[in-house]
Symmetry: C2
């Protein structure tokens, strides 16, 4: 096992009616900026419940944070928050709202010339305006970690940043708020969470058997609960199980002491930036291709995954690995998510993804050696 | 799944040389009370490394916290800490030192007449002196939770208490510091951790499959690593795996949203109080007996445990359950820990345990209905 530091101070308030407890969690003397996305929280009643729960608190609001939240949009929120003297941010929504709010939180006290440097030049985030989260769309895990991914329209960049200072102080997880999610967003969340676990698990053995089994616990549960939620979207326990899996999938616990991959996310972000494909859908396209391409280097973990997640223990090694990757792809398709580029009308030009990754320099993956050439080969498998 | 709040703010610093980083973790302006047990930290070098790491900090020390830490001893530490103006407690040792230090932390700012009320009358712990932990004996999980068990010599009580305020600010987990542990303490730690998981897992199904699988991940890993550590006590990864399992076993995560039992601990504490049997050893005696006694009520989980932890899937239900309990007992014995009362020279008089539990009132177990009569029946199985 490798050395690690694990520190996740986010308080999770989980269950029925949790949204109505947000008033206990936000500091009573705060000037609060409520951030949200396209307004579904106004249609499903969550917005009104939060207003009621916060009672007489000083509230400012900023809606319209888009999927793949944009620097340009977020800088408007930063200006508003400065103008109003905001000192607490309450993000209500899914990963995009959470990630966008983390950027606002980092940009507010930032004293450099250009807050974009936080992302592009990795300017350290020493302090941040405190954040609380009301999660209404499980998937990204952003409600209980310190990371965010921000896009910039001008340059078609989609880049991540993170800091311990950006962990939300609390996250309210109320599974009933997810009953009204469109099937597509529900399915995206399940596949996103599954891919997060794979990024932290599907590397190579470092003698960390607990972390392996904790990751497998998440994978097996997502495989089991995913189809159930599509069949019974108003079943409380199924929604609760998926919500808890998605948080646990990226709260940094299963990454303790093990190598991590994240090449699929690196490639997927470029596909989203260039073609506007939903984040989770890019992962469903790239992951099977990446596993096929990296089959020999990931052999040990692929065999373990085949056995423990898919019950594949008979036949020769290559057959088991191939079958496990096919089952992974079938799981994604069963969630209604196609797994090839052509399904998203991307049939040529996609080598630009490889070129962009090449230009950024450095290599992807747990060995840091997946560069432009390898990305091009993986994309060819995505296009097959 | 049941509603829950999960909030574990302890920062874990895990790995080789972690002890030497304690200076980064203790506030630089603090007056620190270092608490420890019988002095093994002076023999194995940990004490000197901590003194060096803390450099010029104001240090006070209090050694001699015994296994099953006693109120009488701890009140001496409270007096010393008050006299010296201590404002940070650094616990160096295992669960007894940790638990004892939590009582000191709660008693220092306590403004009631008698700090024993914190334990016996459940006086709320609103604030506590901050604690840091350097763990040198894995098992209890006290390094990353807010609970403690304290004994009182005068009354032969052994009772628990807890508060969110008592979570350590940080826990340093340096597996190399555990190489020199006596085999008995190593084995006790493995069995203690295993029992902690069972207390939170072996109840009844509430449709929380992730929590079940996270618990099973711990159980399987402890079953696998336990015999390895006895065979290879200086193998770093084995020590690291056990240390991380023990923390995860009782950091409150696997308890999220599920019922809990804790009857075995309730009975075990009385056995320790009356006969001085090591805590973990009482659990190894009581748990198999409790499972046999509660076989029908725990049937579903016992079958799941038989299949997923011990691979028992053939034969009729009762045979699988009996075999799983036998395997559990064999695992404890394989760790060098006997599983019957007579092995500890307790052959009569043990019904006093049942009487004492009866006098305390209330019922034990996940249904709250294990009273004096049932405890007596369980003790009879322990004596068989």
């Amino acid at each position: 096992m490798r050395d690690f530091t694990y520190w996740n101070p986010t308080k999770i308030v989980f269950g029925r009616g949790a949204v109505d407890r947000v008033g206990e969690l936000v500091p009573s003397d705060a000037t609060v900026l409520i951030t949200y996305g396209g307004g579904s929280i106004k249609r499903n009643g969550v917005y009104e419940r939060i207003r009621t729960a916060l009672g007489g608190a000083a509230l400012v609001e900023f809606g319209g944070i888009e999927p793949n939240p944009r620097y340009e949009t977020l800088m408007k929120a930063v200006a508003l928050a400065k103008e109003k003297g905001v000192d607490f941010l309450l993000a209500v929504g899914g990963g995009s709202v959470l990630d966008g709010t983390k950027f606002i939180a980092a940009a507010l006290p930032y004293d450099g010339a250009d807050p974009w440097d936080i992302i592009e030049k990795h300017a350290p985030v020493q302090s941040a305006t405190p954040i609380g989260a009301v999660l209404t769309l499980p998937g990204t895990g952003s409600e209980s970690n310190g990371n965010a991914v921000i896009s910039r329209e001008e340059t078609r960049d989609k880049l991540g940043f993170g800091s311990q200072a950006l962990f939300p102080r609390f996250a309210v997880l109320d599974p009933e708020t997810t009953f009204s999610l469109p099937e597509r967003q529900t399915a995206n969340g399940v596949v996103d969470a599954f891919a997060h676990v794979l990024e932290q698990y599907m590397t190579y053995d470092v003698n960390a058997p607990l972390q392996d089994r904790q990751a497998e616990a998440l994978l097996v549960t997502l495989v089991e609960q995913g189809p159930k939620v599509l069949a019974h979207p108003n079943d409380y326990d199924t929604r609760a199980n998926i919500m808890w899996c998605a948080t646990q999938a990226l709260n940094t616990l299963i990454a303790c002491g093990v190598p991590q991959d994240w090449a699929t996310h690196g490639i997927g972000h470029e596909l989203t930036a260039l073609y506007g494909i939903d984040h989770a859908r890019t992962l469903a396209v790239v992951f099977p291709a990446l596993l096929r391409h990296q089959k020999d280097r990931k052999r040990g973990k692929l065999l373990q995954y085949a056995a423990r997640v898919w019950g594949l223990v008979d036949g020769d090694e290559d057959a088991r690995i191939d079958a496990a990757i096919e089952k992974t792809e079938a799981f994604f398709r069963g969630m209604g998510i196609p797994t090839r580029l052509k399904d998203y009308d991307v049939t040529d030009g996609y080598l630009e993804v490889a070129e962009r990754i090449g230009r950024r320099g450095g290599g992807l993956g747990e060995h840091g050696d997946i560069g432009e050439k390898e990305v091009a080969e993986i994309l060819a498998l995505c296009a097959a």
